[in-house]
């Protein structure tokens, strides 16, 4: 039952009608795609390329701007640091000067107080010596008067007077001691 028509079919034949329809079909596809389909995608792809290139340029500009800002900021930071260092050095110098001044002033005041106190003590001592000298003189005069008056009458009285004088002297010395 093998088909007998095999010999009638030549698969290597090229029928003219098929060839013509094949060429026309291809021209339809080529013409249709060239005119209707491909211009749209070519335009979209060109626009995309332009958009990407524009985006790259924009990002480059932004990058440059950021770099400039960073440099500016760094310069300012360095400036501020220098300024702060200068201020710190100045403060250090000021502090030393102030301390020195205060120390000198304190020393002066201390010296003044000491000298005043010394003068005061000196004056007091001098006045005390003067007072003592006067008192001793008075006492001596009093004692002498008493000695003279009593001698004329009674030796026993002279002795009593001397004793009394010495007692007085002692009492006075005690009073002076207590007053000190």
């Amino acid at each position: 039952m093998y088909p007998q028509i095999a010999s009638e079919v030549n698969v290597l034949s090229i029928p003219l009608d098929e060839l013509i329809i094949g060429i026309i079909s291809f021209l339809v596809v080529f013409g249709g795609l060239s005119k209707l389909a491909l211009p749209g995608i070519r335009k979209a792809l060109a626009e995309r390329t332009a958009a990407i290139e524009g985006g790259i340029a924009k990002s480059e500009a932004a990058q440059a701007e950021a770099n400039a800002l960073k440099e500016q900021y760094q310069a300012r930071l360095a400036e501020a640091r220098t300024e702060a260092a200068a201020i710190r050095a100045q403060a250090q110098a000021d502090k030393s000067a102030i301390l020195e001044e205060a120390r000198r002033e304190a020393a002066d005041v201390a010296a003044a107080v000491t000298s005043r106190a010394e003068a005061h003590i000196e004056a007091e001592r001098a006045s005390t010596v003067t007072a003592l000298r006067r008192e001793v003189g008075e006492l001596a005069v009093t004692l002498a008067g008493k000695v003279v008056g009593e001698t004329l009458t009674d030796d026993g009285r002279v002795r009593a007077t001397i004793d009394r004088f010495l007692d007085d002297l002692e009492a006075k010395a005690a009073v002076t001691e207590a007053a000190r």
């Binding site: 039952m1 093998y2 088909p3 028509i5 095999a6 079919v9 030549n10 698969v11 290597l12 034949s13 090229i14 029928p15 003219l16 009608d17 098929e18 060839l19 013509i20 329809i21 094949g22 060429i23 079909s25 291809f26 021209l27 339809v28 596809v29 080529f30 249709g32 795609l33 060239s34 209707l36 389909a37 491909l38 211009p39 749209g40 995608i41 335009k43 979209a44 792809l45 626009e47 995309r48 958009a51």
Partner: protein, 271 residues
Amino acid sequence: MGAEQILADGCHLNSGCGFPAPGVEVFDYATLWRFHLLGIDFLITKPLILLMIVAVVVVGFFTLAFRNAKVVPRGLQNIAEYGYLFVRDGIARDTIGKAGDKFVPLLFSLFFFIWVLNFLGIVPFAQFAPGARLAIPVAFAIMVYLLWVPLGVIKQGAGGFFKAMTMPPDVPKAMYGLLIPLEVVSNFIVRPFTHSVRLFANMFAGHLLLVTFSVATWYLFSPSLIGILGSTASFIVAIILTLFEVLIQALQAYVFTLLAAVYINDALHAH
């Protein structure tokens, strides 16, 4: 009478019927419509109808996808654009360089028209790649031949082009007596022949293989152990071959287009 008819008659293993091995007759389709134009007898068959349908579908699909092409692609444009960039960057620019951009419409048409035509080989009801009819690949190869040969004469001058195509550099002068005739035959006569036959033979063989294993699946399908085993094996092979065909179909469309680009490059630049 084709294999389909034989099988429809209930020809199976053990039914007193030999294996109806498919032959070249499966490439012969009945004339569906016939007309005369300019003294040529046009016999319209299924492969030609498929060819015309695919032409319209390819143009329609890409027009729909690219008509409102956006900078940011979406939907159909995504896939179609991938195809466009594949042809532009992978074939035109890779082979021809920047000058290849002018030939992208031609290469794009060749690639997608041939690919979709080939794909019909495994589409149910179509089940035939029109490229398996020799006249179809020949039609495409003629178009490419009629482009690159005149293009070479225009770009390099008739003498320069002929010299570039037939006299390879760095060859002893004495060899040219042998080389020139060989190169003429190889580049101007055999080239369009191999260009078309490569596509035709691949589609032809693929179709014959699929038909053979499909017929075997049906023929062996009978109430016996050997019949069931043979039928199942044939069916599995037919499925594997179908998947294999998907690869071959795309590959042959690519090869045909790539060769067209190589020929155009020969015309543009002496090598």
